[in-house]
């Protein structure tokens, strides 16, 4: 029963994802033909004049969306802190009672 319901749920999500995949960008485009590319065209045109950078992806990563990169580096830093925390030597701390 539980498995059946789970399977049905997966199928529903799959169906919705497929429908959106086919519907994406309507009749004007689809895979390989994006519409509404104003933002990206702006980046393509201006990254050289703004940042003197040839690689536009790098220009986006470190200037236009630099905060994302900071967040990404922070994620890695947090993960390393987490790994160091979890895998450090275990030393139980006794709490409470009549100390």
């Amino acid at each position: 029963m539980r498995k059946l319901v789970a399977f049905l749920a997966i199928m529903i999500i799959f169906a919705f994802l497929v429908i959106t995949a086919v519907e994406l960008r309507g009749d004007d485009g689809g895979f390989g033909e994006p519409v509404n590319t104003e933002m990206d065209e702006y980046f393509l045109e201006n990254s050289q004049s703004h940042n003197q950078v040839n690689n536009i992806v790098t220009a986006i990563l470190f200037d236009y969306r630099g905060l994302d990169t900071l967040g990404e580096a922070t994620v890695l830093f947090a993960a390393v802190s987490g790994v160091l925390t979890v895998l450090r030597k275990m030393k139980p701390v006794k709490r409470g009672g009549k100390r």
């Binding site: 959106t20 236009y64 994620v75 450090r88 409470g96």
Partner: protein
């Protein structure tokens, strides 16, 4: 050299905790005292910049901070292609909530975590969680929101598993991590859908572009589910009791605040992004259903608990239900004339309840942690008679408990009253259910109070918890009392700008 500190305060609100998080491991190599001092300084600086930002918002109106452009306040459309932070009343409200709780939990941690190894990692993770939450509530960019969402999840998972000698902690952290990562991935799918369809990521540009087609529906559904999950709404609440009960006592309120932050984000997304392109009533009903379920199931499960922190965790789940219901009512009436008659009041009540909830829940969790600290026991069947030796903790607990139960004249009552009134006008049944849940909450607080604090002295503890912990709880108590005494002032000065910040002035 025209540094505009006030304009740049949103950047500092995010940047200060991050900078201190990065510096903490280095400071630890120098000396332990420097590390501890930096922890306090970092928290206070963050609070200072939150204060500056909030003051600027309340005195001279909201603004938008653009990262990486020439001028900090945008004048041209191209600035909207960059990442921006919205410094408006809503983010001011949210960041004030976060920073108060962070101050309380941070000061409390000093004495509570004493004796644990690797404290610099603890401070690092604490700062990172704070930065993540701040980024979440301040940002006005979908993908940036995802990034801070992940930072919050990962850092708070590290905090949960800090006491890695407890197997339950590690297990709870794994569960929390697993479900947050899955939620984050689904959120990323919906970001991809919106970006692929409209080509922009900014909230404001996206709100103009949305048409309400199939893509938007799917994206909205996924976003609602993911953030409701992170806000620990029933039926996706199951991680919350595990995490709240098994995390180190001093950071439990701080982890609870991340789920409150998700609720803030959910509010912002549905009110700014999706309000123009959807049948808002149906989405409002969805939120109301989720809220009712959360209230009812949360309080029912709380009845069966015997662990003090787990019980409070279920209470907090049911409190989330109140806010979801209030937001749902506000959203459901958004298109009709009802909004000006009671929808706005519901929204105000919901937001006011959020800030109240953050503070008094922190107080409750911290006093529960004090009980565990002093006795080493969390089981209500074994506790008893603590009031004899721990009078201050008893008082703090009573204050927080009465506030969460909505007993006049405390702050919880003021916000709940707003919610009751507005929700009653929407549908009486909702208000009645909310009242019943509130009564059971009161009963449960009585249960904890009776079985843990009252009764003859069992000799479980030698005395009161250390002074710094009392000071931390005292700060939160002062805030609760202030909110209790001047609710009108708080609503007029903090909550109403927040409602305006959502852009839904009636």
């Amino acid at each position: 050299m025209s540094m505009d500190l006030v304009s740049a305060s949103p950047a500092f609100v995010l940047g200060i905790p991050l900078l201190f998080a990065f510096l903490t491991p280095l400071a630890n190599r120098v000396s332990k005292d420097l590390r501890d001092a930096m922890f306090v300084i970092g928290l206070l600086l963050t609070a200072l910049f939150v204060g500056i930002m909030a003051y600027e918002v309340y005195t001279s109106g909201s603004w938008i901070y653009v990262f990486g452009s020439e001028e900090s306040r945008p004048t041209q459309t191209a600035s909207y292609f960059r990442i921006m932070f919205a410094a408006d009343g809503f983010s001011a409200l949210a960041s004030i909530t976060m920073v108060i709780t962070a101050l309380g939990a941070g000061l409390y941690s000093f004495a509570y975590m004493e004796g644990n190894t690797g404290m610099e990692k603890f401070y690092t993770l604490f700062f990172l969680t704070l930065a993540g939450v701040m980024g979440m509530v301040l940002t006005a960019d979908l993908f940036n929101l995802f990034v801070w969402f992940e930072v919050t999840s990962i850092a708070s998972c590290g905090l949960v598993a800090f006491q890695n000698y407890k197997v339950k902690s590690v297990e709870a952290a794994l569960k929390y991590m697993f479900i947050s990562v899955l939620g984050g991935l689904f959120f990323l799918v919906s970001i991809g859908l919106l970006y692929g369809e409209y080509g922009v990521l900014n909230f404001f540009l996206l709100a103009d572009a949305l048409t309400g087609g199939m893509i938007d529906k799917v994206a909205l559904s996924i976003i609602i589910v993911v953030f409701a999950m992170k806000a620990s709404s029933v039926p996706m609440h199951m991680w919350a009791p595990d995490v709240y009960a098994e995390s180190p006592g001093s950071v439990t309120p701080f982890i609870a605040i991340t789920s409150l932050g998700s609720l803030f984000v959910l509010t912002r997304i549905i009110f700014t992004l999706f309000r123009y392109s959807f049948g808002v009533a149906a989405v409002g009903h969805l939120l109301i259903i989720l809220g009712l379920l959360s209230m009812f199931v949360g309080i029912s499960m709380a009845l069966k608990q015997s662990d003090v922190k787990r019980l409070i965790a279920y209470l907090s789940v049911s409190q989330i239900g109140y806010m979801l219901m209030a937001i749902g009512v506000a959203f459901a009436t958004l298109d009709s004339a009802d909004y000006s008659s009671f929808g706005a009041m519901a929204l105000e009540g919901g937001l006011f309840h959020m800030i109240n909830d953050g503070v008094y829940k922190a107080l409750l969790f911290l006093s529960a942690a004090s009980v565990v600290y002093a006795t080493g026991i969390g089981d209500l069947n074994k506790l008893g008679g603590l009031a004899h030796k721990m009078p201050y903790t008893t008082m703090f607990f009573l204050l927080g408990g009465l506030s969460i139960a909505g007993v006049p004249p405390l702050s919880g009552f003021s916000s709940k009253l707003l919610i009751y009134q507005s929700v009653y006008l929407y549908h009486p049944i909702l208000a009645i259910i909310a009242l019943v849940v509130s009564i059971i909450t009161f009963a449960l607080i009585g249960k904890i109070f009776y079985s843990a604090f009252l009764g003859p002295d069992q000799g479980l503890t030698r005395g009161e918890v250390p002074r710094s912990m009392l000071v931390a709880m005292g700060i939160l108590t002062v805030v609760v009392i202030l909110f209790s005494l001047f609710p009108n002032y708080v609503v007029a000065e903090i909550v109403v700008p927040a409602v305006e910040g959502l852009g839904v002035v009636a």
